[in-house]
């Protein structure tokens, strides 16, 4: 896949060496999935035996499972044997040499989204030599993290450098058997991120900044593990507002978060994967399993997501509130336009006493989009005094789209309290008229009102992304009005 952090660091030390790109392995494993493919993937990555065995067990289990069919999404069956499970990084010969060679429409989108200039080249896939500057910036960050003792590296590097940590936590939050896509991911995952924050450490920067500058290209089967040890704090942001294309249609990532006593993990996602053309053809299928385990007392895990891309989104970032007084939060904005379909939500499982969860979900449907919120709030009998507050609001733009709300509320604890509210409506005519009477065009009025609708969620994003997220909403709604 993409170059390792290690390789870039070496580069920086050795100064730029022309043609280094050709040093990266070019070999690709042909499409198809069987045990030998898995062994090859594991071997290529130089993985320790425990991981190879783990993958194989997952594969064995996956073969006995059936794809889930209950989500409110419709898609053509996926042929798992036609996917290539190990792909080399793109050759630099094909990449644009500078921004001048990049599709001007793409650059226009970056502009509308407000993406910083030094980012645009990297996002457009311009060859490494053009982004040399951002590589040196990355080194400073890496030093800062090292000072604090924070481990932040690609998953494949973590497997080699910190195998004990990986073995301890991998699969402990999302077991291999959890669901079809998690099993598949466990067998063939390509790469992802590994974060470990030691006891008492407050990660010195948002791992968003660092990540954006040096992110490996997200693979189709990404695996991420974030562990916050006692008393630590980390804020992690994945994805970006720029539209991301990928010839791989199926994305089945797994993200596991572990928060020990008094630790807090803030995990934010901005996702704008290619949604397909106006007829919904060719977009990405995003089937993700994300779960956080609030293991320790007073621990806290907070999920914030802005989903505007993908042809199909199926994800339920969840929290298992195990530790006493632990807190789980889910803030989400999901937008479906044209023919996009989303079935997304969260699961808050309250096990410990005095646990609290907050769910704020804002769904926006436009065009022929279908947007469903599916959430589970479960109070186990041990969750004394648990509290949940849920607010799901849906906004319909146009009369050809659909907005659906499917909450599951299951309580077995008499002292617990659950409050759930949901509303579905279109943008009020009166609000539109008020804005237009003040001089705003119809399109601007919709954007302002939609942004207001999403504000509670945007407030939870790292600041630099809040602005981009707002722009992303505007760009994604283009053509939905009038």
């Amino acid at each position: 896949m993409a170059t390792d952090q290690g390789k870039i660091a070496d580069l920086v030390k050795q100064k730029y060496r022309h043609g280094f790109v050709t040093d990266i392995e070019q070999e690709t494993v042909p499409p198809g999935l069987d045990e030998s493919v898995i062994r090859r993937i594991s071997a290529k990555k130089g993985e320790p035996k425990f991981l190879t065995d783990w993958r194989l067990k997952a594969f064995e289990y996956w073969q006995t499972m059936t794809e889930p069919a209950w989500a409110k999404v419709d898609y053509k069956p996926i042929d798992y044997q036609s996917i290539s499970y190990y792909a080399a990084p793109k050759s630099a010969a094909d990449a644009p040499k500078s921004l001048d060679e990049v599709d001007p429409k793409l650059l226009e989108t970056y502009d509308k989204l407000g993406i910083p200039l030094h980012e645009r080249a990297r996002l457009a896939g311009v060859a490494v030599d053009a982004i040399f500057d951002s590589v040196s910036v990355a080194t400073t960050f890496k030093e800062k993290l090292a000072e604090a003792g924070v481990i932040f590296c690609p998953f494949s590097e973590a497997v080699r450098e910190h195998p004990a940590l990986v073995e301890q936590y991998l699969g402990s939050v999302v077991p291999v058997r959890d669901n079809f896509f998690a099993a598949l991911n466990s067998a063939v995952f390509s790469d992802g991120s590994f974060v470990y924050v030691p006891k008492g450490v407050r990660c010195p920067m948002e791992l968003s900044t660092y990540f954006r500058i040096n992110a490996a290209n997200t693979g189709q089967f990404e695996r991420t593990l974030v562990v916050a040890d006692e008393g630590s704090y980390v804020s992690y942001l994945e994805g970006c507002t720029a539209p991301m294309r990928d010839e791989n249609q199926l994305h089945a990532a797994v993200v596991e978060l572990v928060a020990n006593d008094d630790a807090e993990i803030k995990y934010s996602t901005v996702q704008n994967w290619y949604p397909g053309d106006e007829n919904g053809v060719g977009g990405i299928y995003n089937f993700v399993t994300k779960r956080g385990d609030c293991r320790g007392i007073n621990s806290k895990i907070s999920w914030t997501q802005v989903e505007t891309g993908s042809a199909i989104t199926w994800k339920y970032p969840s929290c298992i509130l195990r530790g006493e007084n632990s807190v789980g939060e889910f803030y989400s904005v999901a937008l479906t336009n044209n023919h996009q379909q989303a079935d997304t939500g969260t699961k808050m499982i309250h096990i410990g006493r005095n646990t609290r969860s907050t769910i704020i979900s804002k769904g926006i449907s436009a065009g022929h989009g279908q947007n469903a919120y599916r959430g589970l709030v479960r109070f186990m009998p041990t969750a004394e005094n648990a509290r949940n507050y849920t607010q799901c609001d849906s906004l319909l733009i146009g009369d050809k789209c659909g907005a659906h709300t499917f909450p599951y509320i299951e309580s077995r604890e008499p002292s617990g309290r659950i409050e759930h509210e949901a509303t579905t409506s279109k943008i009020s005519d009166d609000q539109m008229f008020y804005c237009r009477q003040r001089g705003l065009s119809e399109e601007d009025a919709v954007n302002i009102i939609v942004n207001g609708f999403c504000r509670t969620v945007f407030k939870n994003l790292p600041m630099e992304f809040a602005v981009e997220a707002q722009n992303l909403m505007n760009v994604s709604l283009e053509g939905a009005v009038g």
Binding site: Q431, F433, Q437, R438, L440, S441, N451, R455
Partner: protein, 253 residues
Amino acid sequence: MKLLEIKDLHASVDGTEILKGLNLSIGPGEVHAIMGPNGSGKSTLAQVLAGHASYEVTSGAIRFRGDNLLEMTPEARACTGIFLAFQYPIEIPGVNNTYLLKAALNAQRQARGEPEVDAFEFMRLIKDKMKIMQISEEFLHRSVNEGFSGGEKKRNEILQMLTLEPMLAVLDETDSGLDVDALKIVAAGVNSLRDAQRSMILVTHYERLLELVVPDFVHVLAGGRIIKSGNHELARELDARGYDWIQQEATAV
């Protein structure tokens, strides 16, 4: 040239005709009061001028600054200088009050080919206006009209008016629900904008606003038409005697 010319306006809502041939002419720098009993069509007139989609104009013409107003979208009418202070200003959750006003100002500036203002310039611009309307800074951080009292909503409308500096301000029952103090503040704001070019239409049921913002002309709207016009004295007479005598006079004619 007259700023606003309304000729034989017929307008309906939900199939019921409310305005039945209304004529009105407003020159630059004039303040006109439109009074009348409830249901006479006063608010309808205000909404029709602003271009609310629920109201259907079945016949008649409205020219503003020489242009055919009926062909223009609500935002085009706003950018050409019409401002409506709503009788019931609506809430828009999550949308910052200042943000909306700045966006509106810039949209109108852009339409006029003027340069837009940034956040700092904008704050400078509205500082004095905020003083006039006795609006504190924390007010600006709130969402549009969310959690505002009746008086605060009306003061917010006038703040917007002062910022957008329209050529024709239409105030739809701005005085309803206001206590004496709030009324004084609103009147001060409105008066601060009076000049030789700018005109205003004050739609009101009661006379008390007109004591503070003295109109040049007073019209009585009843049965969907203007049945009597006069000056401030007419307003005082209405206050003393009610509307019945005018309607009797009109039918006798």
